[in-house]
């Protein structure tokens, strides 16, 4: 047995141990952070997940509501949602501006990361909404658009 044999063996042991450790860790911790692109993955799949929001009606001055989100993973691999962000972007009525004095959109309140099993679905927190007393009269019967952005990674 030569000295290079010894080196190879040690290196193999280190790599093997590292690989094993990576494999045995919590999958959510080992998932790769994916870029926010719609490009198909290397395996040719085009993963899709659906965010469903429960209807929110009857906002009026002083009212507090929650936009409850449900995530559905239609792909054949688990997904781990690592971030969820929401912001107010538009309203349906002139004179009712999409500003915090008309509607406050709070920070997402669910636990993250949230794992969504392959072909599975789960409720995943909510976005709190508050219509302050400063809301103007023009906002009566207005429809507010809330933009939600999700960060997700593929899981093993």
């Amino acid at each position: 047995m030569h000295r290079w044999h010894k080196t190879v063996v040690v290196a193999a042991a280190v790599v093997g141990a590292a690989g094993l450790a990576v494999a045995l860790r919590d999958p959510s911790a080992t998932d790769q952070k994916m870029t926010l692109t719609a490009a198909p993955g290397a395996d040719g799949t085009n993963p899709v997940f659906t965010v469903r929001g429960a209807a929110v009606e009857d906002l009026y001055p002083g009212a507090r509501r929650r936009l409850v989100l449900t995530l559905t993973n239609s792909s054949n691999r688990d997904l781990v949602v690592t971030g969820m962000h929401a912001r107010l972007t538009a309203t349906s009525k002139p004179g009712c501006e999409p500003v915090v004095s008309n509607l406050e959109v709070g920070a997402y309140t669910g636990a993250l990361p949230a794992r969504v099993r392959a072909r599975g679905s789960r409720e995943a927190g909510a976005v709190p909404l508050h219509m302050p007393n400063t809301v103007v009269d023009a906002c009566q019967e207005a429809t507010f658009t809330v933009l939600v952005t999700a960060d997700a990674v593929a899981a093993r």
């Binding site: 692109t37 929110v56 507090r64 007393n133 939600v148």
Partner: protein, 282 residues
């Protein structure tokens, strides 16, 4: 030297076993697998959701009744204990009544607030109705600092008892028309010289707040026939949902009746919508 050779021999002895090579193969397999997952992108575009604000429902036309018995007219030409206006209470959302009701008196083109009362009321008395005129009334619900409902349709015309005199409303001098139903500007009459002219004040709120000052203008600069908008009333800000409602109270079968006998008004609910979906393609 012999000891070193002996240690070297022991060190390489395990290489005779296949285990190290199995370990290397396993590590390579795991590494390859992780790399494959790392190349798998997940799309996460923005998703739009819509949420909906309520609105104050438009109320039905109020019912107006004149006080019974012999009408009493003040020296200022105001009907004492004037018309009683009644309405059905409404809600802004299921279980959430509006906060105030504003009743407006219409004397032809002249519009004035007759009553401004909390939500536990369902009637009020116009304490400033001018005698001898034909009046109609509308009612609108309000909520919060800025939300006001669309005024109801006008009530049936009510002929106010007594003899009509020229009046000044919002700086405009008016007299009844030939049949008492039409108000026309009095030619050559100035509001700045109101001798013999009745000044019709705005109503105060009906919940103990002082009445507003009369709205007669010192000058007659307002064009005859010009419609004056009622003053903007700013009731207290509504409470947050977790706090009790101090001003309105929620009408229910067990709620106090306020100042009248007409308890248990109709409530109108805002319809519920359906869920909304957003698909985030990958």
């Amino acid at each position: 030297m012999r000891r070193r050779h002996a240690r070297t021999g022991q060190s390489f002895r395990f290489l005779r076993s296949p285990l190290p090579f199995v370990g290397v193969a396993t590590a390579l397999a795991i590494g390859t697998g992780v790399a494959a997952y790392g190349d798998w992108d997940v799309g996460a575009d923005e998703a739009q959701f819509t949420v909906h604000a309520a609105s104050i429902p438009r109320m039905d036309a109020p019912a107006v009744t004149l006080p019974g018995g012999q009408p009493e007219i003040t020296a200022d030409g105001i009907v004492v204990g004037g018309p009683r206006i009644e309405w059905d209470r409404v809600s802004i959302a299921p279980g959430t009544p509006v906060q105030r009701y504003v009743v407006t008196r219409h004397l032809g083109p002249i519009i004035q607030v007759a009553c401004d009362v909390p939500a536990d009321h369902r009637r009020c008395v116009d304490e400033n109705a001018p005698a001898g005129y034909l009046a109609t009334y509308t009612v609108a619900a309000t909520y919060g600092s800025f939300w006001t409902g669309v005024p109801s349709p006008e009530s049936a015309p009510v002929p106010l008892p007594g003899e009509a005199a020229p009046i000044v409303v919002d700086g405009v001098v008016m007299v009844p028309g030939g049949d008492g139903s039409t108000l026309v500007p009095a030619p050559g009459v100035s509001a700045s010289a109101p001798t013999g002219i009745v000044v019709v004040p705005q109503a105060g709120t009906g919940d103990g707040k002082p009445a507003a000052e009369p709205v007669v203008s010192a000058s007659a600069s307002t064009a005859p026939g010009q419609v004056q908008q009622p003053p903007v009333h700013k009731p207290p800000a509504p409470p947050e949902e977790s706090a009790p409602v101090p001003d309105s109270g929620k009408p229910s079968s067990s709620a106090p009746a306020g100042d009248d006998e007409n308890e248990g008004g109709t409530q109108k609910d805002t319809p519920l919508g359906s869920a909304v979906d957003a698909v985030i393609p990958g």
